[in-house]
Amino acid sequence: MLPNLKVENLSSVRSEKVIFDNINFEVMPGQNIEIIGSNGSGKTTLLRTILGLINQDKGQILWLDDNDNYNKFRTFDCFYQGHQLGIKNLLTVYENLQLTKNSIGMPQEEIYKLLERVGLSNINDFAANLSVGQRKRIAVARWLLKEFKVYLIDEPFSALDDKATLLIEDLIKELNAKGCSFIITGHRPSNILASRMEI
């Protein structure tokens, strides 16, 4: 099997400051990468650079296409969850899940099931009334709307309680089994199976 994504010798310079330098890793289908670093070490910047939201400085990011070639341009959709979760206060919990691109064609009951799975019962509350952790759970429910080859999740475990942490660990395992890979960040090693790298 070929890696879906190869990051080679990547470095980032922002406002003439080197944020990170010489990053190398490969993302095999169904396997995870965990990027660990202190505050301001560049984890968020790295994820966003991989996605092309921030211009890279040196090195390359190579994406596998359907013909087993590697391309500099992204060849498949990825799932990204940043520090900002993209949750709309004026929509209800249910609408926050339903009115996204990934839920196209998904029946209502499926969405209810997902919400139940992440522990959200108040599906008709406005998101504005939710606690921070509950908002994060909406974001987690979105992982399941569609399967992606690669998920890039920035600090999946922060602001969550132990139950939600276990849930996420399970979800990642489950998606790994389907061949999905996770690139996650954190400040200390988590319990998921992953190759860890310091930044």
Partner: protein, 225 residues
């Protein structure tokens, strides 16, 4: 398949943003009332003489339209930018053009369209003759659409911290629209041919839709460097 997914997505963006806009000001009536209040200001300040008002009517209607499009402009992208939704659009492999187009459409639906309706009442109270209603509607249709395009560019330029002087960039370009729109109505008042003006406005729109949308994408990308 690809085609249909784009149009599905467009529908979802439109639905989502319209729901939010609706919850934020709850009635379609709000922009309509707003427009009428602004129109009311003019007779109050300039005097109620019918001849004066009807000669000013084209301008008054156009100034009110301009104000309405400017008022809602800032929110076009700011919320999506702040809460991370905008990221999704640039991560997706579909062209970001779509997003900008959807956003412009939404802005027009919540400002331009109500104005179109309100303008008929405004025309009535400002003693605009009935013959001028059709030219007025057409000029507003073209002009408010162009304003929404310009507004999107301005909003994109003033996002975030690199807020360059978006106002200076956008507002001067709204002046031709204002002048041309007014000329359409006032030409019709004196039975002159106004199709030339409409044609120019149409041409501006025709160039603006691809041109300004692309520039807006570029402007948004400035926040992703």
């Amino acid at each position: 398949m690809m085609q249909s997914s784009i149009s599905d997505w467009l529908t979802i963006i439109l639905r989502r943003d319209l729901i939010i806009a609706f919850r934020r000001s709850s009635t379609y009536i709000t922009p309509l009332i707003f427009f009428l209040i602004v129109v009311t200001f003019f007779p109050l300040a300039l005097g109620p003489q019918e001849s004066l008002l009807s000669s000013l009517a084209p301008g008054v209607i156009w100034i009110a339209a301009l104000l309405a499009s400017l008022l809602a402009v800032e929110t076009i992208f700011s919320e999506d930018f702040r809460d991370g939704t905008l990221d999704d659009f640039f991560i997706s492999l579909e062209p970001s053009f779509i997003l900008v187009f959807a956003k412009v459409l939404i802005h027009w639906l919540i400002t331009g369209l109500p104005i179109l309706i309100a303008s008929m009442i405004a025309a009535l109270v400002l003693y605009l003759p009935f013959e001028s209603f059709i030219p007025m509607i057409f000029s507003l249709l073209l002009g408010t659409s162009f304003m929404s395009l310009l507004g999107a560019l301005g909003a994109a330029l003033s996002l975030g911290r690199s807020a360059i002087l978006s106002a200076i960039i956008v507002l001067p370009f709204s002046i031709p629209t204002l002048l041309m729109g007014t000329s359409v109505i006032s030409s019709s008042l004196i039975n002159q041919d106004f199709s030339g003006y409409l044609m120019i406005m149409g041409a501006m729109l025709a160039i603006g839709i691809p041109g300004l949308c692309l520039l807006t994408v570029e402007a948004l990308l400035l926040n992703y460097e």
